[in-house]
Amino acid sequence: MNDLEFKAAVEISRKWDGEEVARELSDKIKNKTTSPKFILLFTTIHYEKEFEKILNGLKNEFPDAPLVGGTVAGFMTQEGCYTRGVTALTVDYPNMDIAIGIGHNTKKNPVNASRECTDMLKMNSSTSFFPQKFLFVLTSGTRVPSLLGTGVKRVYKTKIPSYMLSKLLKTSFQTSQKGVGREDIILDEISNRMSDFNIIGGSSIDDNKMEANFQFFSNKIYTNSVVGLSIKTDLPLLLDSQVAVKKTNKIFKAELSGEKYIIKKIDNKPATKTFFENLNWPDSFMDERLHRRTFFYPILFEKQGEIFPEVIGGLIGNNIVCGFDLKSDDVCIGISSKEILINAIKKELENITRSGILKIGIVIYCSALLETLGRDFFKVQEIIKEYYSNSPFLLIATGGEDFCIPNKILKHSNETINMAAFA
C-alpha cells in the first residue's frame, strides 16, 4: 500500500451544553488532525435543543470539512458505550475525495428523495479515479404515527380492518410524514443510481421510542431526510454483514395487506392471534411493553439466499406492522439472544480482520440489539477492541441497517451488524 499519512479520530463528548460539546469535540479532533476531510456526527436525542450550537461550533472550527450525521439510539467507541452523548468520526488522508448529499421528504416520496440525494452526491463528487468507492447513508427512520387520535401507541387492541389500516398509514405519510422509514425503497434507488458504490448505512432514530429523529447536513438540521457521504480513495475497503438472528421451525405463509409491511393473516388465520399462539404468549403480553419481547422474536423472510429479519413495529388489532416491505410471503419467526449476537459480531470481526490490519472502522448495529443486550453492550465493546487493537472505531445503533456490495448483496434489514473498515 502507500506511505501517505493517514490520521483519524473518533471522539465523544458527554457535556450537556451544545457549545461545550462542540468545543470539546473540536479540541479532541485537533489533537489528532488539523484538517479533517469530513466529519460524521451523531448524537442521541437528548441533545435536540443543542443541535444548532453543536453544528455551528464544529463548522466554525472546521469550515472546510463536509459534515453529515444525525440522531442514533447509542454509540460505542474505544473509549466506552453510551446511550447519551455526542460522537464525531473524522479522517484526514490525502488520497480521498469526499462528496455529501441530501434528499428531503423521504416518507412522502422516497424515490424523489433518493434522486435528490444522489444527484447532489454526483454533482459534488470529483472525477478522481481512486478505485475504492464507499457511500455512507443515514435515512430518517420510522416515526410512529398517532392513529385514531389516541396519541402515540404501538399496540391497539381495537379490531381495525387491514384495508382501513393501510389507508390510515398511507394518509399519515402524506399529511404528517409519519410512519415507516421506507429505507428499503431509498436504498434500492440509491444503489441503482450509484451502482459502483459499496454502501453502508442506517436509520436515524431517537431513544427507541420512534417518535422523532433528525439528520444533519453541514450546519443544518432536518427530519424526514436522507443524507449521504461518498468517499473515493485508494485505501483498501473491507465490508461484512452478519445477521444476529437464527431461524426457528415456526414457518408460515403470510398474507400481506396493500402496504407490504403489514401482515394481515398467517396461514390464513388472523396474524396477531396466530403469532401469539405460536409463541405461547398470553393476551396480556399485548401491551406497550411489546418491544421488550418482540425484539427477541423478529419475523424473517428470505430473498436470494439472504435472511431479512423484521422487528415487529406494532400490533394493530389482528394486523402485525413491520418496519419495511416483506419481499416474500414465506416467513418464519426468528430468535435472537445474547449468545447469537456475540457470535455474529465475532464472526464479522474475524472476516474483516482476515483481510488486513484495520485503520478505522464504522459499525452499524441495530438499536433493537442494543435494547436486548442492555448492560452487556460493554461485552461487545471488549470483543471489538480486541480486534481493532488501538485503531479507532465507531459503532452507531440505528433503527434499521443498510448494506450493499455491488452485484453481490443489497439489503435493508433489522437485527443485523454491518461493518466497513479501511485497511
Binding site: R14, W16, H46, A73, G74, G80, C81, Y82, T83, R84, D207, N208, K209, E288, R289, H291, R292, S367, L370, E371, T372, L373, G374, R375, F377, F378
Partner: protein
C-alpha cells in the same frame, strides 16, 4: 464542596425515564442527587414510600449475596421498575426507578456508566483516605 457522586446522579436524573436515583444500602440512602428527592420526577413521589420499603427488602438479599457475586437485581411495582446495580464487595448499590414501559436496555447502558463513574470516585476517595 459538591459531592462528585451526587453530580453523577444529577446527570443520570436528566434522562427522561430515570424517575429517581440514588446510592443506597439497607436502611440507609448513602448519596442522593444534589437536590435530594426534590429532583425526582413528580410521578414517583406518589409511590416513593412503598418503593422505599420494598427497596429495603431487596437490600436484605443484596447484603446476603453481594460477597457471592450478586451484581444486579430488579423488581416491578405497579407501573414502575427499580434497578439495583451492586458495587462489588459492598452492600451498596446504585438504584434507579424507571417507568415499566421504558426502553430498559438503553437505560442500562447509562446506569452502568454511572456505576463505573461512582466506583472510580469511591476508589479515589479510598486512596486519599489511605
Amino acid at each position: 464542596m459538591d459531592d462528585p457522586i451526587a453530580k453523577v446522579l444529577d446527570d443520570l436524573l436528566r434522562l427522561d425515564d430515570i424517575l429517581a436515583c440514588m446510592v443506597a444500602r439497607q436502611n440507609m440512602i448513602s448519596v442522593m442527587p444534589t437536590d435530594s428527592t426534590d429532583s425526582f420526577k413528580p410521578e414517583v413521589h406518589g409511590i416513593w414510600d412503598i418503593i422505599h420499603r420494598a427497596m429495603d427488602d431487596v437490600f436484605n438479599v443484596i447484603r446476603e449475596y453481594s460477597q457471592a457475586g450478586l451484581s444486579e437485581m430488579e423488581f416491578r411495582l405497579q407501573d414502575y421498575e427499580a434497578l439495583f446495580y451492586v458495587f462489588p464487595d459492598t452492600e451498596n448499590a446504585l438504584v434507579a426507578i424507571i417507568p415499566a414501559l421504558a426502553n430498559k436496555g438503553l437505560l442500562e447502558v447509562e446506569m452502568e456508566n454511572a456505576r463505573r463513574e461512582i466506583l472510580k470516585v469511591m476508589e479515589d476517595q479510598m486512596t486519599v483516605n489511605g
